[in-house]
Symmetry: C2
Subunit: 208 residues, 2 copies
């Protein structure tokens, strides 16, 4: 499927509305209005609402895959340096693309669209396999401990970050922070990265 600028313009608004109302809660009329196009354009461009969601996934996920592989293979970096970069990049990306990560989260709960589920499943397993390699490298170099549960470790990274996004406002209130949204998000990302690095050191048995 060829994605034009018009596609992107619609997908952008669809993403926002799917994230704030869910797939079933966001109507094609809402999306069309938000994107400033006629209702019929959504079927015209994507075929259906469901296929629009699939297009959104293929569009967003294609932009996610590349970096991890090249990071893992990079021989100039020590294993824990790679872990640190991984955390930094992951936290940044989730904060930057909050809407899409919210959609991904809901889609994991609601097992309906098989195309989306398959994309998610492939992403997850390939991700886990790459990190597995990284762990093994660290173990071979005697800087990580034995018996590391890769999946649980990843659950901690993705889960902590996801919760941090969902609880943003509570975090601000609970810690009495008075700053405005953009600088608050910078602060939260910073705290999150430091937090996750402490946690990962413990999980990996790394003594930096």
């Amino acid at each position: 499927m060829v994605i034009t600028e018009k596609h992107r313009q619609i997908l952008q608004k669809a993403e926002e509305l799917f994230a704030s109302r869910g797939f079933d809660g966001a109507t094609v009329r809402d999306i069309a209005e938000a994107a400033g196009v006629n209702l019929a354009m959504i079927s015209y461009y994507f075929g259906s609402k469901e296929k629009m969601m699939e297009a959104l996934f293929s569009e967003r996920m294609s932009a996610m895959k590349i970096r991890v592989e090249t990071l893992i293979k990079n021989e100039a970096l020590a294993p824990f340096q790679k872990v640190e970069i991984l955390i930094d990049e992951y936290v940044n990306k989730v904060m930057e693309k909050q809407s899409f990560y919210k959609i991904m989260l809901c889609e994991q709960v609601i097992n309906k669209n098989s195309v989306v589920l398959k994309a998610l499943s492939e992403l997850k397993l390939s991700y886990a396999n790459l990190i597995q390699e990284l762990i093994k490298e660290g173990q071979a170099k005697k800087v990580f401990k034995k018996n590391i549960d890769v999946m649980l470790m990843l659950n901690t990274m993705t889960g902590t970050t996801t919760q941090a996004i969902l609880n943003k406002d509570y975090y601000k209130a609970f810690n009495n922070l008075k700053m405005k949204t953009p600088e608050f998000e910078v602060l939260l990302v910073d705290k999150l990265r430091i937090h996750l690095k402490v946690v990962f050191k413990a999980i990996l048995g790394y003594e930096g």
Copy 2:
């Protein structure tokens, strides 16, 4: 509102369907059929679909509040013992009530039902305040380090557990586990608890 056995029977099926299809994806007809009651019974018993969701929340959340407070106040336990019990109970409960935790997760993403959002918000802040107390107790007794980010710590507990539930099947596949669901879930809960305790030791600076 008086909740009878009939209410509970309907809420039980509503919970399952909300968890697997989302609030908007699960129709009142689906729910009525699954519960073996007439379509009109849902309005008759709850007033509306939305109020049924609110009834589900008040029903399930009332069963969650009690234990944490008594745990924190218990003077016979050391701070980190309390943390361990907290982790154990939380992980158990999420695994036991998977459907409801999935619904809670989606409701946090989709900000629609204000009654539900308010209940979630109150739960979260009261929870954070109780844990805050526990942290302070540990710091006063010099067994926890200074400058602990309570909210991020809780995000790690809830987020890791949530992700573990959502990724159950991938965990099984990735680790080549051949056992059946019930015993697999026992194993997963075990792994999760151990994992979280390692993580919390690092976060709290506890040297057990």
